[in-house]
């Protein structure tokens, strides 16, 4: 109970701290920048959260993000409209993820090893496209530059933030309202029990990895909105931040637990900490990582299974 509420309390406290310390912290401009900053991490951690909730792990997220960004940039450069290019990139990522899921679910290989192989493979694939970066097409750049979505009271959203928030809403609804969501949590909680109850657990694992791959590629596409280019070096270590965000948000690494919006909360907490430390200026930016690590530790301790904690 407290485990699922604590991240929210922390998030509100962080917002309050920022609001107290800095003028206009919750103003239209600052919020828009904050959501834009969080968008890539948020999207990646949605995928990490799904995989972890299914009782698996995905270490290939960063590499798949790089691959996705390059696929989208290359396509948009050769004149393919951006939505189509993005869809292709997401499809590539999802296929890649499904492939990893297949090895894990159907062949029974350890998820850790398979996704480490995926980490190397996707990075190699990205490097075989280019070792540098590919600028995206002029239309796409112009659109990323101009497009904003107005909200009431002068608040606005950039395209990447809008996509990230939409993805968050879709994942939250899917997990809470759809049978597939319950199958996901059942598989993560106890795969054998889920299988005996008629859940196709290998399908769930393959699906979870496909979702993670697709979302990782989507986060790579969002990088186009920041840098107007795809980059082969993008996302090194993104999988760690994504996993950390998912766990900080309250998703247990033992699987089977996925509070709605957990990935959003975790990603926002990590981003806010970074923003606050950078804005404060007296602390080195490295402290953001250190605080992130401490939060990860606290979250992991809080999310231990009751059986384990009652014994100790």
């Amino acid at each position: 109970m407290t485990g699922s509420r604590a991240p929210w309390v922390l998030l509100v406290a962080l917002f309050a701290t920022g609001f107290g310390l800095h003028d206009g912290f919750l103003g239209p401009r600052a919020v828009s920048v904050l959501l834009e900053d969080a968008a890539i991490l948020l999207t990646a951690s949605l995928g990490a959260g799904i995989v972890v909730a299914a009782g698996s792990i995905d270490l290939s997220i960063g590499s798949v993000a790089a691959l996705g960004s390059l696929v989208a940039a290359r396509l948009s450069q050769s004149g393919v409209p951006l939505p189509l290019a993005a869809a292709c990139a997401v499809a590539v990522g999802a296929l890649f993820g499904a492939g990893q899921g297949w090895w894990i679910a159907r062949c029974g290989l350890p998820a850790f090893l398979v996704t480490v192989a995926g980490l190397f493979a996707a990075r190699g694939a990205a490097w075989s496209i280019t070792t540098g970066s590919i600028p995206c097409g002029p239309e796409a750049s112009a659109w990323f530059d101009d497009a904003t979505y107005l909200l009431p009271m002068g608040y606005r959203l950039t395209p990447t933030a809008l996509v990230a928030l939409t993805a968050t809403a879709v994942v939250a609804l899917w997990i809470t309202c759809r049978p597939a969501g319950r199958a996901l949590l059942a598989t993560g909680g106890d795969a054998e029990a889920a299988r005996l109850q008629g859940v196709d657990t290998s399908f769930v694992v393959v699906g979870a990895h496909a979702a993670s791959g697709g979302l990782a590629a989507l986060s790579g596409v969002m990088f186009l909105g920041v840098a107007f280019a795809g980059d082969a070096a993008l996302g090194s270590g993104l999988e760690l931040d994504a996993l950390a965000a998912a766990v900080v948000g309250g998703i247990a690494l033992s699987g089977g637990v996925h509070p709605p919006l957990a990935a959003w909360v975790g990603a926002m907490i990590l981003t806010l900490i970074k923003v606050l430390i950078v804005r404060d200026g007296s602390l080195d930016a490295s402290w953001a990582r250190i605080v992130g690590g401490i939060l990860l530790l606290l979250a992991a301790v809080a999310s231990r299974r009751p059986a384990a904690s009652s014994k100790s």
Partner: protein
């Protein structure tokens, strides 16, 4: 054939292949009182991977995994650079660096043993936070490691072989001897194969797991020192990056089961040498370094499949 022996055969095959394929490969020459040549380079650069792979093998044997290896390397490198810049001598710097490694290892062990956290989460904590600390230590800069002892460690030789090779050989030999002569090796494998049974049988499981993580931390710290001394600088950002993954890959190639319970130091050593030789081979074979991670990915998959309990080579089954 045991998986460890399979790994050594793979190394041997690769070396034979290289002898034919790479003209420089047999050009080992005695220059200025030391051996020089491609195989020596492989050993010199492979020394640190061998060290961390041995440490990782002990952790994996207990059914754990140590994701903190790369950051411990960065931490120890940055700390060594910082301390030697402030004028501390060789003994102080080295013991501080190794001390940091052991401290991180003890922290990991505390989280796994006392906190009963899954090892992958516990060691994710130093992996996320450690580089931040290393950046702080280095003050956000790439520090030079140019104390005389560090230069000597990085480029010196003894009996014609690079010092890094001697350091790794010495450490690994002592480890192997200790594991053979004491019950620790058996204990580690026992903990990995059935923790609950060990606890009931009175095996000091907590102490064994602690030894594994502390050793892994210490070896990673030594590897960090070697790496920093090799390039004479400590870059908190890139020092030891992905080393924890390479270590696990080496361990798995060497036939240590990722699920724990079985381990082979010789295998881990073979795995590490194989990876290092493979890197050099790919480079020499003109395979663009752009796609170099791809063969590694393939290798991990093959190793994982071969290590799978259901996998049997058909030929072996029919002959034996």
């Amino acid at each position: 054939m045991t998986p460890a022996r399979r790994a050594w055969v793979a190394v041997a095959l690769l070396v034979v292949l290289d002898l034919f394929m790479i003209p420089d490969f047999h050009g080992v020459a005695w220059v200025d009182g030391a051996w020089r040549g491609l195989p020596i380079d492989i050993m010199e650069h492979g020394a640190r991977l061998c060290l961390v792979a041995i440490g990782a093998a002990l952790v994996v044997a207990t059914g754990g995994v140590d994701l903190g290896i790369g950051t411990v390397m960065a931490l120890s490198g940055a700390l060594a650079a910082r301390l030697s810049a402030e004028g501390y001598g060789f003994p102080a710097v080295v013991s501080a660096a190794i001390g940091v490694g052991i401290a991180v290892g003890l922290m990991n062990a505390a989280m796994v043993v006392l906190g009963r956290m899954p090892p992958i989460v516990a060691t994710l904590v130093p992996m996320v936070a450690g580089r931040g600390v290393a950046h702080l230590l280095a003050g956000g800069a790439i520090l030079a490691v140019d104390a005389p002892w560090a230069v000597h460690l990085g480029s010196g030789t003894w009996l014609g072989m690079p010092l890094a090779v001697w350091v790794a050989t010495g450490v690994i030999a002592v480890t192997a001897l200790l594991l053979r002569r004491t019950a620790v090796g058996t204990g580690l494998a026992a903990v990995g194969s059935n923790l609950a049974a060990c606890r009931i049988a009175g095996v000091p499981t907590g102490r064994l797991i602690t030894v594994a993580y502390a050793t892994s931390g210490a070896f990673a710290a030594i590897a960090g020192l070697l790496a920093a001394a090799d390039v004479r600088s400590a870059d908190a950002h890139s020092l030891g990056q992905f080393m924890e993954l390479d270590a696990v890959v080496a361990v798995v190639i060497g036939g240590t089961a990722i699920t724990g319970g079985v381990f082979s130091l010789g295998g881990a050593l073979a795995g590490a040498l194989f990876l290092q030789t493979l890197t050099v081979t790919l480079h020499a074979a003109g395979i663009r370094s752009d796609v170099a991670p791809l063969p590694k990915a393939l290798l991990v998959l093959v190793a994982a499949i071969v290590a799978h309990p259901k996998f049997r080579l058909r030929r072996i089954r029919s002959t034996s």
